[in-house]
Each structure stands twice: as structure tokens, then as C-alpha cells.
């Protein structure tokens, strides 16, 4: 039955619809709504898992189901579930908007699921816009309206600017090739590698992705939006949203890139610039979320290395890195959400004494931050290692060297975070952080995942390789 292939999307869509209905008919009830969201997102994960084996095309070939897309859907659904786990006390969102909050969250996830399967330029465009618009609104929902609005406006303006550039790029590409399906593009691109319209069109399309991925030069929204958005939304942008965009970039580039030196150069330049800029700018940040924003830019740079090392190894490493990012970024945000003072952003200094207030959270912070920095034996290291391996296979030694130097620079600010958590003495003694049991379990298992997968990454590598192969 062909429609069963559409299971995850249908599930999430129904959940979103449910919240839409709920917001129309029922008075908000935070605990109940949260419970609904938890159950529905868990169901979403279950459905996605059930559909992992799905394969085929839908909607006259504009929509492709393969291992690659299905695993990413599982990742997205899990991302959603994890974010919902963080929404137990949604202080940052006014009570009356809670249902809409969940609604947009689910819609956004739906859009991203569509995105990872998109096979047609129009599908890509629509999925991307849908997720973007949901996020614009989510960002603006913050209780502190000045912050929320400013973050939203900046995010929105950059977003529409980038997407109009992308649309123009699509127009150019279409004008040059007539191809709108990715598989058609794959066939015509090799001959068009020297046609300016096609290649520049391609570049402009990537511009739209770069905006979502927070790659230079469309990283300009990241710091402000991360800082201004509610913590949970920032977490969502940093995790699920990134994963989806990495997926679509991989899909597009695997279709069009036939070892074009130009694209590799451009991507290499952007990658180097992103990571250098992100890491350098992060050093002097005081606000934890803003710091994470810059670190996101840097991580996008690392991912680009995997992406530009075209070939199965490169794509597999990028997939691995994306999945790794999901886990480690989420863990950091978990700590941020739990520790954040009410109504304000978490300053790095306010982590002081965390090792006393909650050893578990401090440990989680340390492991995840080391993972972000790429220190073994964490999953972040494994990710970086495979990315670099792929790059070196293509002979990009200098790129790897620069990336490693960046790792060292980034370590500085990551260490500052750890120092704050483990070393600094808080100005006033704060009470211990209370963590519910499920949250403890979640934190513990996240730590374990990061370490175990970092030490024994084989299954995940095999999975990513299988996904990369299904992409080709």
C-alpha cells in the first residue's frame, strides 16, 4: 500500500492538526498539552522507525523514499521528541500560546521530513519555506517580547532574503537546464559544468540552504536568533533543523556535483570561513546561547568539509556528523534549558557551581562540550575524524589542517564553559538543580550514547555508509 510509505509525515501532520484543533476548541492546559505532545511525538518516532525500510517515489516522482530519507525522518522525529521532553515547564512561552507552539513545532518537523525526501526543486522550496515560516513564528513567541520580536525580525528578514536568492537561483538553473527533478539534474549537470547560468544558479540555491545551515555568508541571523529565541526553540533550530538541511544539501549535491572544482573551491572557502569566523567570534561571548550560535556556525563549517568531499565516504561522514550533532547539541541545550534562570538567558558565568548543584548535569555538559570540541572518545570526535578522513581521501590536506587548528581555537571557549561549570565559585549559593527521574535517565543515556558511540562508532558508521550509498 503506497500511502503507508508516507507514514511518518502523515503521523506528524495529524499530530499538528490535532494541536490546531485543540487550540481552537480547548482552553490551554500546560501539563495536559505537554503530555499530548510527548505521546504524539513518541508515536511519531515509532511510526518513523516502522517506516525505515520504506522505499520508492511518491507524487509523480517529486518525493523520494529511501534509507537516507527514512533514517533522517527518524532522526527528525527523535529530535522533536527530545525537544518536547524539554518543554515540561515552558516558562518562556505564554500559556495561551502553548498549543500553537506545539502546532508550529510539529508543522516544522513535518516540513523538514518533507524536505529530506524532496526530489523536485519545487518540493524543496515549499518544504523549506514551510519550515522557515514555522520557525519565524516560533522564535517570536518568546515571553520577553522585545527579544523575541527582534530575533524574529532578524531571522525573518534574513530568511526571506536568502530564500528569494534561492528562488532566483532556481529560476536560473531552470532556465539553463529545464530540469526540475534532481535525477534529471544529475543527468544534465555534467555537460553544464561550464555554463555560468547553471552553476551560479546552483550556487544561489545553495545560498538558501546556507541560510538554514548557518553557513557563511548567510550566518548573519544565527547569533541574534539563538540569543533571542526561547531556549527550546533555539535547541530545535540547532538540532533538528540543522539535521534536515544537511540531509537536503547532501541530496542536492549528490545529484548535481560531478567533481566540479569550482563548487569544491567555493564550498571549501565557505567552510573555512564559517568555522574560523564561528570559532573566533564565539571566544568572547558571555551569553551561553549566543556562544552556541557561533559554535553552530563553526560546526556547519566542519559539516561542509564532509559535504564537499564528494563521494560515499564524504556523504557518510556528513551524515554521521549530522546525527552526532543532533545528540551533542541537544545535550548542551538540555543543560541550558534546565539551568536557565527564569525569563532570562543563561550567562556562562551562571554555570558556576554547577558541579555541586547537579553533578549529573555538569557531567553531561562536560561530555557534550568535549564532544562538540571533538575530543575523543566522544561522538563528536568520531564525526570530525570521519569527516577529515573523507577530506584527506580527496587530498585536501590543508583544509584538514586548518580545521584542526580551528578545533584547537574552539577548545578555548569550550574549556571556558567547563571551567565555569566545574571551577568557578558562584556569587551566591544556588540551590541544587532538581531533575525529574525521566530527565535523569534521559541525561544519563545521552552521556552514555555520546561516549559509547564515540568509542565504538562502527554501527553508526555502517548506517551512515548505507545511507550514503542509498543516496547515490
Amino acid at each position: 500500500m503506497k500511502w503507508m510509505l508516507f507514514g511518518p509525515e502523515t503521523g506528524i501532520f495529524l499530530a499538528a492538526f490535532f494541536f490546531l484543533i485543540l487550540s481552537m476548541w480547548r482552553k490551554p492546559n500546560p501539563a495536559r498539552d505537554h503530555m499530548y505532545a510527548l505521546v504524539l511525538s513518541a508515536l511519531g518516532v515509532a511510526v518513523s522507525l516502522a517506516c525505515v525500510g520504506a522505499e520508492g517515489f511518491l507524487f509523480s516522482g517529486t518525493y523520494r523514499l529511501d534509507l537516507f530519507s527514512q533514517v533522517f525522518k527518524v532522526a527528525l522525529a527523535s529530535g522533536l521528541f527530545l525537544i518536547v521532553c524539554l518543554c515540561a515547564s515552558l516558562e518562556e512561552i505564554k500559556k495561551r500560546y502553548r498549543q500553537e507552539f506545539y502546532f508550529f513545532l510539529f508543522v516544522c518537523t513535518l516540513a523538514m521530513m518533507l524536505l529530506v525526501s524532496a526530489q523536485h526543486l519545487l518540493t524543496i522550496l515549499l518544504a523549506l519555506e514551510l519550515s522557515s515560516y514555522s520557525l519565524y513564528l516560533l522564535v517570536t513567541l518568546r515571553r520577553n517580547e522585545d527579544m523575541g520580536l527582534e530575533a524574529g525580525i532578524k531571522y525573518f528578514l534574513t530568511g526571506i532574503f536568502a530564500s528569494s536568492i534561492m528562488i532566483f537561483g532556481m529560476a536560473l538553473l531552470y532556465g539553463a537546464t529545464q530540469a526540475v527533478y534532481l535525477q534529471d539534474l544529475a543527468q544534465v549537470m555534467p555537460e553544464l559544468m561550464n555554463s555560468p547560468a547553471a552553476v551560479i544558479g546552483m550556487l544561489l540555491i545553495f545560498g538558501g540552504f546556507f541560510f538554514k545551515l548557518a553557513v557563511y555568508p548567510f550566518h548573519i541571523w544565527v547569533a541574534d536568533t539563538y540569543q533571542g529565541a526561547p531556549d527550546q526553540v533555539t535547541a530545535y533550530i540547532a538540532t533538528a533543523s540543522k539535521v534536515a538541511v544537511i540531509a537536503i544539501v547532501l541530496r542536492v549535491i549528490s545529484a548535481v556535483d560531478q567533481n566540479s572544482a569550482y563548487l569544491v573551491h567555493v564550498l571549501a572557502v565557505l567552510s573555512i570561513t564559517s568555522m574560523t569566523l564561528g570559532n573566533l567570534a564565539a571566544i568572547t561571548q558571555k551569553d551561553m546561547k549566543r556562544l552556541l550560535g557561533y559554535s553552530t556556525i563553526a560546526h556547519s563549517g566542519y559539516v561542509l568539509i564532509g559535504i564537499l568531499s564528494v563521494g560515499t565516504a564524504g556523504y557518510a561522514s556528513a551524515v554521521f556528523y549530522a546525527l552526532a550533532l543532533l545528540v551533542m547539541k541537544f545535550t548542551v541545550f538540555l543543560v541550558v534549558v534546565v539551568v536557565s534562570p527564569r525569563g532570562r538567558n543563561l550567562e556562562i558565568e551562571e554555570l558556576a557551581g554547577l558541579h555541586r548543584r547537579s553533578p549529573l548535569l555538569a557531567l553531561a555538559l562536560m561530555v557534550s562540550v568535549f564532544s562538540l570540541a571533538g575530543i575523543p572518545p566522544t561522538v563528536g570526535f568520531a564525526g570530525k575524524f570521519f569527516v577529515f578522513m573523507a577530506a584527506m581521501d580527496k587530498g585536501l590536506f590543508v583544509l584538514v589542517l586548518i580545521a584542526m587548528v580551528n578545533v584547537v581555537v574552539s577548545l578555548y571557549y569550550y574549556l571556558l564553559v567547563i571551567k565555569a561549570a566545574y571551577l568557578n565559585v558562584p556569587r551566591e549559593t544556588l540551590p541544587p538543580v532538581h531533575l525529574s527521574h525521566p530527565m535523569r535517565c534521559l541525561t544519563g543515556s545521552l552521556i552514555a550514547t555520546m561516549v559509547v558511540v564515540g568509542f565504538y562508532p562502527t554501527p553508526l558508521i555502517q548506517l551512515s555508509e548505507a545511507m550514503a550509498r542509498s543516496l547515490m
Binding site: L121, L122, L125, L126, E129, Y133, Y136, L137, T140, E145, D146, M147, L149, E150, A151, G152, I153, K154, F156, L157, I160, F161, S163, S164, I165, I167, F168, M170, A171, L172, Y174, G175, Q178, V180, A197, A223, D224, Q227, G228, R290
Partner: protein, 100 residues
Amino acid sequence: MIVPFGHVLMLAGMLFLLGVFCTVTRRNLIMIILGVEVMLNAAAIAFVGAALHWQSLEGQAFVLFIMAIAATEVSVGLALIVYAYRRSGSFDPSSYNLFR
């Protein structure tokens, strides 16, 4: 096709640049959105031209969707901006500089 495709593209390109110019120079949030609209329209013209050039309908379909997107954009954007204006009393993008 009476007008060569290259000319259409050139028109679209110029319109796009105008849109960019409007976006980055006008110190008014609404004008920024308008600039983006212009950029979208430039893309739409390019699509129409390309559709004619290739004699395929997909370009036309794109244009329809672009119009829809533009509409969403204006509605969401205006909602945001009007709300922001109500709070801060300013359309000037430089007055939104809370973060650093």
C-alpha cells in the same frame, strides 16, 4: 518567442538587483520586505521566460507557488512588523539592536 530569453533574464537580473538595492538601503522594515518582494518577482519573471523558452509548464507552476510564498511572506512579515512597531514605535531596522 519574440523577446529572446537572454533579454528576459537580463530584465529579471536587473529587477533582482533593484530589489536587493531596495532591501539593503531603505531604512524601513516594510521597504525591506517590499524589496524582497521585488526580488521574488524578478525570479518569477525569469521562471516565466524560462518556461516559454523550454516550452514547459513547470516554470509557470513555479510562478504560482512564488506568488503564494510572497503572499505568506507579506502577511507574516507585516504581522511581525506591525507588532514590533506597536511595541517600539519604530520602523527603523537599526533600532533593533538588543543583542550583542
